[in-house]
């Protein structure tokens, strides 16, 4: 059980290089079948996304798989690997396990805690399983990686906070309104950012969209894209009170939404809260509106501050997640080692047991007649000696799991104790 991994990621390579190494999912089945048919390679998995390509493999004991993997990549991309050398990273043994776990937990992602990687990993796992490329230890590791990814999502807040201003707006809206279902969004001034924010709000459940813009045609365009209603700019302020969430990004030089206006709107709405997302510069909403009960105003700086504080929080959560990953790496390696070692341990025990039994037989004459309890004592004594002798080698073998010399160690122990057949 020797693990090896070669990869390229946003940490090591710019996008032009990454896109050339990318392997489209349609090519995966053939590539995987090819990979595991190669000499010395028992299992393989390929994870290819826009930010990384990771190729993990399990090779036969004692086989150095690097040359074969190089050949594989060269043939796959029909290109000499030399120009890409500087961008590739290699991992072996337990580092492979750690790398796969960290990737699945989004700890190695461009945006810490991003949610897509787990799904992408799942797809890569499925593709490799279907191609018959996962049937042993690597299968176990990949499966466990998914479990660790889920565990980190469950036990830490790593994936829960917004990392962009528009996501932050949605997050805040949820803190005010709980569920966004049935809530009305008013877009004051159609623009790229307000469009993005509206899109996020809709995918989080907001249902009514009103759009207004200085030019009515643009408002109609946007409204149609969202399945909403266009509003003429002159009528906008009458209708504004219908909205729970207002996204404002007009090019106006003056403040459009004044405190008095909002006070009146709130009274008309029976004080149901209003949330103003003011991404315009210069600002459209008077900051004094935030002083009102039941009105909340966030401008672009405020949203960015939320994003920054979220990032800090993610970094803190990441530290926890790394601990979880380390713990899981240890656990997985032990489990794999036990599984692998089981036949060796059984063989060792059997061999020593045969020796023990034979020796007792040989010395039965000299021991004379023993009553049952003495017989038991002799048995216990001899067994105890053997267990203590075996304890050292077995522990060493278990602890060495994942090390590159592990296979050699096991072979040595087998040779020394004479269980190589």
């Amino acid at each position: 059980m020797n693990f090896i991994l070669v990869g390229i990621s946003h940490h090591t390579a710019p996008v032009e290089v990454r896109e050339r190494m990318n392997i489209h999912e349609s090519r995966l089945p053939a590539a995987l079948t090819d990979l595991v048919a190669r000499r010395g390679i028992r299992e393989g998995m390929i994870l290819s996304t826009c930010n990384r390509v990771d190729l993990a493999a399990a090779s036969e004991d004692g086989v150095e798989a690097e040359p074969e993997l190089r050949r594989f990549l060269t043939e796959l991309h029909r290109n000499d690997l030399a120009p890409y050398e500087q961008y590739l990273y290699w991992r072996r043994g337990r580092d492979v396990v750690r790398h796969l776990f960290r990737v699945a937990c989004s700890l190695d992602s461009m945006i810490l805690g991003e949610p897509q990687i787990l799904g992408q990993f799942k797809q890569a796992f499925a593709a490799a399983s279907e191609a018959g490329a996962l049937n042993g230890a690597l299968h176990e590791v990949a499966r466990q990686a998914l479990a660790v990814g889920r565990r980190v999502r469950r036990e830490t807040a790593l994936g829960t906070t917004a990392v962009s201003a528009s996501y932050a707006a949605v997050e805040l809206a949820k803190k005010i309104f709980g569920s966004l279902e049935g809530k009305t969004v008013f877009i004051l001034g159609a623009g790229k950012m307000s469009e993005l924010a509206a899109r996020h709000l809709i995918s989080s459940g907001a249902t009514s969209i009103l759009v207004t813009n200085r030019t009515y045609e643009r408002a109609c365009e946007l409204a149609q894209a969202f399945g909403g209603t266009p509003v003429r700019f002159e009528d906008a302020f009458e209708q504004l009170g219908r909205a729970d969430i207002v996204i404002s990004s007009t090019g106006s030089r003056e403040v459009l939404v004044t405190r008095e206006r909002v006070e009146r709107m709130l009274a008309a709405r029976k004080q149901r809260p209003m949330f103003f997302v003011d991404i315009a510069v210069p600002r459209d909403v008077d900051p004094a509106v935030n002083e009102l009960n039941n009105a909340f105003v966030y401008d672009i700086d405020d949203l960015e501050a939320v994003v920054a504080s979220n990032r800090k929080q993610r970094e803190r959560e990441a530290a926890w997640a790394e601990e979880i990953v380390e713990e899981e790496v240890e656990r997985t390696l032990r489990r794999l080692a036990s599984r692998d070692l089981a036949p060796t341990i059984v063989a060792l025990e059997q061999r020593l047991e045969r020796i023990r039994a034979a020796e007792i037989e040989r010395f039965r004459g000299r021991l004379g007649n023993l009553d049952p309890s003495q017989n038991e004592a002799v048995d216990a004594l001899t067994r105890g000696i053997l267990n203590k002798i075996l304890h050292g080698p077995i522990t060493e073998m278990k602890n060495g799991a994942g090390d590159p010399e592990h296979g050699a160690l096991v072979q040595l122990v087998r040779r020394i104790f004479g269980v190589n057949d």
């Binding site: 830490t156 807040a157 906070t161 004080q271 009960n293 501050a305 504080s309 979220n310």
Partner: protein, 269 residues
Amino acid sequence: MLLWAALGLYGLGIVLTIPPLTRRRPALPRGALAALAGGLVLHGLSLAVVGFRLHHLPMTDVQGAVSFFAFDVTLAFFLLYLRYKIISLGLFTLPFVFLMALIAALQGSPSFQSPGFRGGWLGVHIAAMILGYTGFFLTFVAGVMYLIQEAELKSKKPHAFHFRLPSLEVCDRLYYRSLVFGNLFVGAGLLTGFVWASRTWHGSWEYDPKIVATLVTWVIYLTLFSTRACGSWRGRRSAYGAIFGFGAVMVTFLGVTFLSGQHGFLPKP
């Protein structure tokens, strides 16, 4: 001693709840939920047992009243958690409930029965009042949670969810519903109280301090209801109102209990 067992389970539930809260990814672990559910069942049983022994509803003394109150609040938290998954509510209510249940348990078996207290209506009256106060307690808690969440939002420095407080809307909904619940039951409690007192007491009991205080409290809460319903108050003002109102509740229940002669839980000198 059923109550002690319930208490033990509540304690376990609280202890199991704390780690997820600090981990900022709060979801009540199944162990905590089970411990609380178990505690609730035992607590309910302890009340039922006392009731059977006395042949009437068990809240006619301090111990029973406090125990019933703690039971109601815990039950409410449990149901609300199932519906809204608000774990932070637990942070506010469970330790308080634990304390109340502890007080109740320490009192031992129902000790004092004021000689004035007889009759079926009485049990209903007390139960209704306690249910009403439970509602008002939840209104208070909802108000507090609202204020904390709102302050965070207004400060624009979201402290990265120190406790996952529920959204303002959920706080408000809890506020409103518990307010209605509380008002209904206190109203019912006052009504049944009048019925019972008119049959049992003599003299001008209408001016008993406790009754007056309860009426005042009820009026406060009715005001909160009407301002909230017509929308002139909502959010921060209503929350402050709930805090003030709960102060009145405390005064009524605890303070007057120890002052009112006829109505109190202490024996007349």
